[in-house]
């Protein structure tokens, strides 16, 4: 094995310009949608310049990320990971002390539901966003060291033992984020160790067993949560929120009519039991669905989104920006964005496959997983396939630290890509 050439010319040649272009396109598209949905809405007038400024910062951070060879991140990754976990814990601690200036995040929130929705918008610094990257770096490093022993692990005990460190690495921040409580971010942490372990070559029998076990656990948990009167460790509103999330899965989907939207569900006994707690969530998700669908094939036109501009659409500039996109540009706009995402994923997968070392491969797969999970959870929520989780849409939603995080992710991926071993001639 000879040394990789590290010349600037080689890096510039191997830099994935398409990836960078697609990423910039996606953000620009997002700013276009933001501009349309905040047009002539005085309360939201500062959103657009803010987002533009953050875009500039994000591009700068992207370039900085490129400059540092990704292999140098192995040890600093652990340090940063440790610091992030500590600061996350401090954040939870602060919020439990009632230090609202740190922990409560919500612009224009109206109900108690918003008070706990931490981690989706305007907090100055969100450790949880960077913690995802930290977790991936640490996982990639650890698994690149343990790769051979994982792949060659025989029997049951060894592979399971191999899983302990990666799972713990992800579980620590996840638990803290869960306490914040931010279910959305927590649900991004959960799959990361499994995905990287899987790619690292965890034996199939362990993978399949885990899948079977996880499915059974999920089903059992679903039944338990939907029927239990009281779940230890969960406050009643948290339980209610989870139930609201899960309810669509437990009953056949009925298209809502205006009466249903305004008057609530038709069956009085259901209304009596849960209308109070579910009212805001249900109303919002139906409004979001209405916004998306009302765009029809080609949308109401840029800046013509009534649902978003009249504030029927909750968090239309962050969590529900996809609905705002659908409202303004219709099916065509949605598919355009999905295509852009597919192209980005295609470029990233290419990088993962050509990366010159295991660390780089796992790093790219892990980072890409963060991206894809965000996309799925966010869009799935917008179209009512998944419960509301309060996650922003990568490269698209308003929110400075999230945008920077995304650019760091793609900066690292491009970093891995341009520092790959050149093809033999």
């Amino acid at each position: 094995m000879r040394e990789h050439p590290t010349g600037l010319g080689l890096h510039a040649r191997q830099f994935d310009y398409f990836l960078a272009m697609f990423v910039l396109f996606a953000t620009g598209f997002g700013i276009l949608v933001l501009a349309g949905s905040t047009r002539d809405v005085p309360e939201l007038a500062k959103i657009l310049p803010q987002q533009a400024r953050w875009w500039g910062i994000a591009i700068g951070v992207f370039c900085l990320t490129l400059a540092v060879p990704y292999r140098w991140l192995k040890i600093p990754g652990w340090i940063v990971y440790g610091m992030l976990v500590v600061s996350l814990a401090a954040l939870v601690f602060a919020s439990h002390l009632g230090m609202a200036w740190i922990s409560t995040v919500r612009a224009g929130g109206a109900s108690s539901w918003y008070k706990i929705a931490l981690g989706s918008s305007s907090i100055r610094f969100q450790p949880s966003e960077f913690a995802k990257i930290g977790v991936v770096i640490v996982l990639a490093h650890w698994l690149s060291l343990r790769r051979e022993s994982i792949a060659e692990a025989r029997g049951w005990r060894k592979p399971i033992l191999e899983c302990i460190v990666p799972l713990a690495v992800a579980a620590l921040p996840m638990a803290i984020v869960f306490l914040q409580p931010d279910f959305g971010t927590a649900s991004v942490f959960l799959p990361l160790p499994f995905i990287v372990l899987f790619v690292a070559g965890l034996p199939w029998r362990v993978v399949l067993t885990t899948v079977a076990f996880g499915t059974a656990l999920a089903l059992g948990g679903f039944v338990y949560l939907m029927n239990a009167d009281h779940v230890p460790g969960l406050k009643p509103y948290q339980l209610n929120r989870i139930r609201v999330f899960l309810e669509p899965l437990g009953k056949p989907f009925n298209p809502p009519g205006v009466e249903e939207i305004l008057y609530g569900p038709a069956q009085p006994e259901v209304a009596e039991t849960s209308a109070k707690s579910r009212d805001p969530d249900d109303w919002q998700i139906r409004q979001a669905e209405m916004a998306l669908g009302s765009g029809r094939l080609f949308g109401k036109g840029w800046g013509q989104g009534t649902q978003s501009r009249l504030r029927f659409l909750p968090a239309h500039h962050t969590d529900f920006i996809f609905s705002s996109l659908g409202e303004q540009f219709g099916l065509a706009g949605c598919l355009a964005l999905l295509l852009l995402y597919v192209l980005i994923v295609w470029r990233c997968v290419h990088v993962a496959l050509v990366a010159s070392d295991a660390f780089g491969q796992y790093l790219v797969v892990g980072l890409l997983s963060i991206f894809i999970l965000h996309v799925f959870l966010n869009i799935g929520m917008s179209v009512r396939l998944l419960p509301t989780t309060g996650l922003p849409l990568p490269l698209f939603s308003f929110g400075g630290s999230f945008l920077v995080t995304n650019y760091v992710i793609f900066g690292l991926i491009a970093n891995v890509g341009m520092r790959r071993e050149p093809k033999e001639r």
Binding site: A110, S111, R311, L338, V365, S369
Partner: protein
């Protein structure tokens, strides 16, 4: 080496396969999402589009202020003031938010009647609302306006309040407004009203509700955002204020009438004999149209035209006219000895026990001698008296444009069911008994007809209706007929009425009318259930009359002693005002610029003591 290379290949294959599997599952998820998006946009898109339209667009009405009612000089009797209604809705709000809002409203606006939090939160469907305060003035509501952004769930709506600056003074004329009751519901809904509209409930407010006072509501397209804040988009139709009603009433005379009655039951009617204009029309008890809940001693009935009384001696105008019209001589003399033996066992008395002595028709009118009129009445007969009374307007509604129903026609002759006989014919001659009963308005119009040369007018109370588009509807004096007496015959009667006022033997002499007024009048004292209603009716000046006043004070004794001094004071006031008043056209132009017609309104309603008695 080979092993190493094989291992690398193996690792490489694992990577490709496993990343490929991940990508495949991601593609599966993507397919789900794309299908779902297509379903929502392409399949259900139109439905959802319609729903989203209904979400925020609606038509809202713009309330129109009611038209004003002003007196002959333009002073405003009924006005519309901008007020604000405040509502609270729990729509999309948590219990804590509602509680916070209500606390804030309680603090900012003491006038608000803030409902309980539980009551608001319990509203279903949740976009319904509860009134917090209604009819607030601008000063009261402005703290709420300023802090509206911090008061989620609070809605402030502009509305109009009907106010009556003169309070009880003209209550019977203007009437009042109120909610559409159960009774009129179907009718008003058919006319395009909403159930929460305010409509005229009495008087002119009711009479001219539909065509004029109501105005026309505007309509606007409003955008309603998710917090139920209403943003006006486009006005389709402006609200148009209702038409202005100009009355013939003079508020000053109306006030004089009220002050003269001073809490005694009775009526004052003042008309202009030349055209039938009603200058004052007041009955006590009255009520407060600003708060139309009748307390004890209040009445919504305008007794001056809804209640009929025995006219007493004021009816002698008809007896005398009928006598003259059948060719009788005014110089017929009769001797009054205090009573007249009409039939065995029936000897009605005169108003003085010792009798009036010998007198002709003029003297009998001046002294109000009953015996003289018993005799005439026997000669004339009930039929001729009834016929003459009808020409004077008795027995039929006057046609005053004040109400559609409810004006009393009074009682006249056998047409109202009482057969004429000797007894009631004799009594009819002096305005008593079952054959005759009249409203004060009828009496006033009858004397006005005599005074103006024989033309009976329908009383006119609305002179003009000015529509906001500039169109004007004028009501002209409406003659109803002629009394059919020659000038000489009329002069006989007028001479008699003059003598009643001017001569020392006249029944109204004690009231001491100023001779310069040249008043002519007739007293009346009508027996009713053992008590006497005091009448006095007069006009002035007798040769060129410009005002005719009929005053009835219930259960107040002798007309000459009770009612005539009131009439005198009323005429004094009339002439005093005449010196100070500008001609109506000029005056109206001046007061039109001044708020409230330039009159300090509360003065009147405060000064009136409902228990009676003028505190001046």
């Amino acid at each position: 080496m080979f092993e190493d290379r094989g291992k690398t290949l193996q690792t490489r294959r694992t990577l490709v396969v496993r990343v490929g599997l991940l990508v495949a599952s991601a593609a599966l998820g993507l397919a789900f999402i794309a299908a779902r998006i297509s379903y929502l946009t392409a399949w259900r898109g139109q439905d959802l589009y319609d729903l989203s339209e209904r979400n925020f667009l609606k038509f809202a009405k713009i309330p129109a202020p009611r038209g004003q009612i002003v007196d002959r000089y333009g002073r405003v009797l009924a006005d519309s003031e901008t007020r604000f209604d405040v509502h609270v809705t729990p729509f999309r709000l948590s219990r804590e938010d509602v509680a916070k809002t209500l606390d804030e409203v309680r603090r900012l606006c003491p006038a608000a009647r803030v409902p309980d939090v539980a009551e608001v939160v319990a509203l279903r469907p949740r976009f319904r609302r509860l009134p917090v305060a209604s009819q607030l003035g601008l000063e009261e509501v402005s703290p709420l306006f300023e802090r509206q952004a911090a008061l989620p769930g609070i809605e402030i709506e502009e509305t109009f309040k009907r106010i009556y600056p003169y309070g009880r003074l003209a209550a019977h004329l203007t009437g009042h407004v109120g909610a559409i009751g159960e009774g009129g519901k179907d009718f008003f809904l058919e006319q395009g009203y909403d159930l929460d509209d305010i409509v005229g409930r009495a008087g002119l407010e009711a009479k001219h509700e539909l065509s004029f006072l109501r105005g026309s509501q505007g309509e606007q397209l409003v955008m309603r955002d998710a917090r139920m804040r209403v943003v006006p988009l486009r006005v389709h139709r402006k609200a148009v204020q209702g038409a202005t009603l100009t009355l013939t009433i003079d508020v000053d005379l109306q006030r004089a009438a009220m002050n003269l009655l001073a809490g005694r039951m009775g009526s004052v009617v003042a008309v202009d004999p030349r055209n039938g204009d009603v200058l004052a029309l007041f009955s006590y008890p009255t009520y407060d149209p600003n708060n139309p809940v009748c307390g004890p001693g209040d009445s919504e009935r305008l007794d001056a035209l809804r209640e009929h009384y025995a006219p007493g001696s004021t009816f002698k105008i008809v007896t005398a006219s009928a006598w003259l019209a059948m060719g009788g001589s005014p110089n017929r003399t009769e001797t009054c000895a205090g009573s007249l033996q009409v039939a065995p066992g029936f000897a009605p008395k005169c108003n003085v026990e010792w009798g009036h002595g010998t007198q002709d028709l003029r003297g009998a009118l001046a002294r109000s001698c009953n015996v003289y009129f018993y005799k005439i009445a026997m000669d004339v007969g009930a039929t001729r008296m009834t016929e003459m009374a009808a020409r004077y307007g008795f027995g039929s509604v006057s046609g005053i444009g004040l109400m559609d129903r409810g004006e009393s026609p009074g009682v006249l002759g056998s047409r109202h069911g009482t057969p004429a006989n000797l007894g009631n014919t004799v009594m009819m001659g002096i305005g008593q008994g079952g054959l005759i009963s009249a409203t004060p308005l009828q009496v006033a119009m009858a004397y006005a007809a005599l005074a103006n040369g024989g033309t009976l007018f329908a009383p006119r109370i609305v002179r003009e209706i000015q529509r906001p588009d500039g169109g004007t509807i004028q009501y002209f004096p409406t003659p109803r007929g002629e009394i059919g007496l020659s000038e000489a015959q009329r002069n006989v009667l007028i001479d008699g009425f003059r003598a009643a006022v001017e001569q020392s033997y006249g029944t109204a002499h004690k009231a001491q009318f100023d001779p310069a007024m040249r008043a002519a009048g007739k007293t009346g004292t009508a027996q009713r259930a053992g008590k006497s209603d005091a009448w006095f009716v007069c006009f002035a000046p007798w040769d060129r009359p410009e005002i005719c006043v009929a005053i009835l004070v219930e259960e107040a004794g002798h007309g000459g002693e009770t009612a005539a001094p009131l009439a005198k004071a009323f005429l004094d006031e009339y002439y005093r005002l005449k010196k100070t008043h500008l001609p109506p056209q000029v005056a109206r132009r001046i007061v039109a610029d001044r708020p409230n017609g330039g009159v300090d309104a509360p003065f009147f309603s405060q000064r009136l003591d409902p228990r009676g008695g003028d505190r001046r």
